[in-house]
């Protein structure tokens, strides 16, 4: 069973995304110790042991220029130094950087780095960061394109001394730290010889060919098998506080049932993504702890919004889209598909992002009568078979349903039932995720063929990324709507370089207003991120996964 694609798509994009939750970017950061300061509610901390994590996802590559899945990015966070990370309170703290300063004009950022070494004994210096950054910038349109957005607007990187890194930007950027939180620093002495001609070797290099993989984080990879188990062992040369466990085993399962059976049978300590329909069973078991946190994952309904679309052009009309929204029963989706572990939403910017969500944008109530009234008014009368006719043809459409999206079949059925009441007939076109994405862009990323689809986005605490997916530049990139609106694009650029966060908020809200009026998406529900662990463990931080090294260094057994 494949993983929800857009979960990892979006993680990948943390890149572009993310900004501080508070706008404290220009304050100096002071590094705080992670991991050992937490008080334990469950008893005494037992040092050592192996943390066995189960997932239906897969670490698809240990090469950051190739990797795609969110699991790989979680691995990079603990394998490689990052300049900064989020604290449990979602404030900025240093990871490799001990502290940092910003110049008056906001263009120059100076990071003071902790002394350290790579796991093979080579000194870890600012030169490694300069090399990584310069390489990413140099091949940004080619082999390093995946990581390039993290360094958007960076002009130069330099290392005045081994413990100091200076990053200069060409324009003041509002979300420097969120961007750098995904800038993995690679060991220059390992990677430079592999670059090859035009940097092409960067993509071909498999770090796991030589084990243990050289890193500088709390763990090093000593065994790699993405479709089996990958083992991370404690790295004695790590510059930060040592993890409690000796090793982390990251085990891949082909299907959820096998994963949950193994978990309940005692073969696993932590499950990364619990299917909502299994929550009840796990909660009934006193040996297990189920944890739910708010997430930014929003499942949506997609309209092809390319105005050049040749057929079924009635779907481009905002009133038709509004009528369709009235026919979607979000409460039923939240209850039936997600077992109550989801809530109706209307904006692509999730409630958890706080100030960035425009509170004016609320879901329309489920009201098929109102939907019918709108369609009647538009003159799309029902034929003898009860199906409406628009522009001389029946309102019958196909909806692309990517099979990798959790709960999509059931969600479709609820949508279909609602549309039936409108006299609109829809059928599913179930395709695997890769094929579905190609079908949305067909032909050749011109977005002309498809009518509607359903998928999801996982954003970050900063709204930049989810806002970017609707820009014209994303044709052939992240776009799954074919939406392109120059006015929206201008606002997008403006919010990116607006340093004053209040002013930026106004722009972000305006962009959500435009989205609401044009309705390239109908946002359906925001779903919980559900994890579970055995009760002889403690110290998990599900909300910090991929944001900090803490979710892997802090877990420990308790007596």
């Amino acid at each position: 069973m494949t993983k929800r694609v857009l979960w990892f798509l979006a993680l990948l994009a943390l890149v572009v995304a993310a900004a501080s939750c508070g706008g404290d970017d220009d304050e100096d950061g002071t590094a705080t110790g992670t991991g050992t300061t937490e008080t334990d509610e469950g008893g005494n901390v037992v040092e050592g042991g192996i943390l066995r994590i189960g997932t239906t996802g897969e670490i698809d590559s240990l090469n950051p220029f190739v990797a795609f899945n969110s699991e790989s990015y979680q691995a990079f966070v603990i394998m490689y130094p990052l300049l900064v990370q989020y604290s449990p309170e979602f404030e900025w703290e240093g990871d490799w950087a001990e502290s940092w300063e910003t110049s008056e004009d906001g263009l120059t950022w100076t990071f003071n780095l902790r002394p350290g070494e790579w796991s093979d004994g080579t000194p870890l210096t600012a030169e490694d960061a300069v090399w990584t950054g310069e390489t990413v910038l140099k091949y940004a349109k080619g082999p390093t394109s995946i990581l390039a957005p993290f360094l958007a607007n960076v002009e130069t990187l330099s290392a005045p001394d081994p413990q100091t890194l200076v990053v200069t930007y060409s324009t003041p950027v509002g979300n420097v730290l969120p961007q750098l939180q995904q800038f993995f620093i690679l060991p220059k002495h390992i990677w430079e010889p592999k670059m090859g001609n035009d940097g092409k070797g960067l993509k071909a290099f498999n770090p796991q060919d030589e084990l243990p993989v050289v890193g500088a984080g709390p763990f090093v990879v000593t065994q790699f098998d993405g479709k089996g188990t990958t083992i991370f062992e404690k790295n004695p040369t790590y510059y930060g506080p040592a993890p409690h466990v000796d090793a982390v085993g990251y085990q891949h399962f082909e299907n959820e049932d096998a994963l949950l059976t193994a978990f309940q049978g005692g073969e696993l300590d932590f499950v990364e993504e619990v299917p909502p329909n299994a929550v009840g069973t796990l909660e009934a078991n006193d040996e297990l702890v189920v944890n739910k946190v708010d997430s930014t994952q929003i499942n949506n309904f997609i309209f092809n919004s390319n105005p050049k679309k040749p057929e079924n052009t009635e779907l481009l009309e905002p009133q038709v889209r509004e009528a369709f929204e009235y026919a979607i029963n979000r409460d039923e989706i939240a209850e039936v598909v997600w077992g109550g572990n989801a809530r109706p939403v209307a904006s692509i910017v999730a409630p958890i992002t706080g100030m960035w969500m425009n509170p004016e944008i609320q879901p329309l109530p489920y009201d098929p009568d109102e939907g019918n009234r709108i369609l009647d008014e538009l003159g799309y009368a029902r034929g003898s078979d009860g199906i409406r006719v628009a522009n001389g043809h029946k309102m019958e459409y196909e909806i692309i349903t990517p099979t990798g999206v959790q709960g999509i079949q059931r969600t479709f059925e609820i949508v279909q039932k609602g549309f039936d009441e409108l006299g609109v007939k829809v059928t599913p076109n179930a395709l695997d995720d890769t094929t579905a994405f190609e079908a949305i862009g067909a032909p050749d990323w011109q977005y002309l063929d498809f009518d509607m689809s359903m998928w999801s986005w996982v954003g970050y605490l900063d709204p930049d990324f989810v806002l970017s997916v609707l820009t014209c530049d994303q044709y052939g990139g992240w776009s799954d709507t074919g939406y392109c609106n120059p006015e929206y694009d201008d606002l997008y650029k403006e919010q990116g370089i607006t340093v004053d966060q209040e002013a930026r908020k106004e722009i972000v809200w305006e962009m959500q207003d435009i989205m609401q009026a044009d309705r390239p998406y109908i946002q359906l529900v925001v779903v919980d991120y559900i994890t579970a662990w055995r009760n002889n463990w403690d110290g998990f931080h599900p909300d910090l996964i991929a944001y900090s090294k803490l979710p892997w260094t802090d877990p420990h057994q308790v007596e």
Partner: protein
């Protein structure tokens, strides 16, 4: 020389089948939408130049006919090409999974042959009794259950008793195991997938053995044997079973090929890292060379098994060579 004729005909037929299958393997996967540079993988937001370079690197810039020719040339030299995803030789990608699959499939196969024959023979011999009904019922049930569903049920049933996934305990190295413990661990992991495969095949075998035995048991020479006062076991095993063996041998050889293919479902349920799982994953990443390689092996195993069945038939059934 009718025998030589027969062998020659079978051989030519097998070769033609393999060639057709090779061609289909090439065409089928390329007919699926998307390719290895799909924007979900590898080439998101990259420039057209980079995408073209990637196409060139993977050999996808050439015409389909040229690609086909290169593919055939490679095959002739025993070269299956490079995986699009890992950039490693396909054979290296497939070797370990095949070695993982064979013992698992072998164990299941053995289980099904032993129990299938045993139950089939007993059911036929004790026709109409409780033993017959019980055997028939169990055979029908297992034969009709979908493999993946049966696998899931066994998984739930043995939760906490037998390991539910993978090929070995990933953390066994930390316990400094003896060789014996390593072997035992592997065997434990093999039980559920083997059993799933074995039970499904068992149903099929038991049914065929039963009907074939019923047919021979009704023959006149069985009556003669009985009249001669031979012991029951001698009648069943020496006279009836030997003569009932013909369709059974064919079936056993035939299913050998499908067993390897059937591993796809079982391995997906138990996350067993064999050839089936590799195939399953390669489909999603449009890794043509790995798919071609895996399907080549699946095809070959079916064709070779058929070929062996044909030859065995020739050996076992004097009517063919006479």
């Amino acid at each position: 020389m009718r025998g030589a004729d027969y062998v020659l005909k079978r051989t030519v037929f097998a070769i033609i089948t393999v060639f057709v299958a090779l061609t289909l393997n090439f065409v089928l996967f390329r007919a699926a939408p998307g390719d290895a540079t799909s924007s979900l993988r590898g080439c998101r937001n990259c420039t057209p130049e980079f995408r073209d370079a990637l196409y060139a690197e993977l050999g996808l810039d050439k015409s389909k006919l040229e690609q086909y020719w290169i593919y055939l040339q490679g095959l002739a030299q025993g070269d299956l090409g490079l995986s699009f995803v890992s950039r490693q030789p396909v054979w290296d990608e497939l070797r370990d999974p095949i070695l993982n699959t064979l013992p698992m499939v072998g164990l299941g196969y053995l289980f099904s042959i032993v129990f299938g024959i045993l139950v089939g023979v007993i059911a036929a011999w004790r026709r109409g009794t409780f033993a017959d009904w019980g055997g028939l019922l169990s055979a029908l049930v297992f034969y009709s259950l979908p493999t993946q569903w049966l696998g899931l049920m066994l998984l739930i049933l043995f939760s906490g008793v037998l390991p539910s996934s993978g090929i070995s305990d990933p953390f066994i190295e930390f316990t400094d195991p003896s060789t014996w413990e390593v072997i035992l661990d592997r065997l434990e992991h093999m039980i559920l997938p083997s059993l799933t495969l074995g039970l499904v095949l068992y149903g099929e075998y038991a049914l065929i053995v039963r009907s074939s035995m019923l047919e021979t048991l009704g023959e006149d020479y069985i009556l003669t044997a009985r009249a001669k006062g031979l012991a029951n076991w001698a009648i069943v095993w020496k006279h009836a079973f030997r003569n009932a063996l013909l369709p059974i041998v064919t079936l056993v050889a035939l299913t050998l090929g499908y067993v390897v293919a059937g591993a796809i479902l079982v391995e997906a349920v138990f996350s067993y890292p064999g050839i089936g799982l590799v195939t399953y994953e390669a489909i999603f990443s449009r890794d043509y060379p790995v798919l071609q390689g895996a399907f080549l092996i699946l095809t070959l195993s079916v064709v070779v098994a058929n070929y062996i069945a044909d030859l065995l038939y020739f050996r076992l059934d004097p009517r063919i060579s006479a």
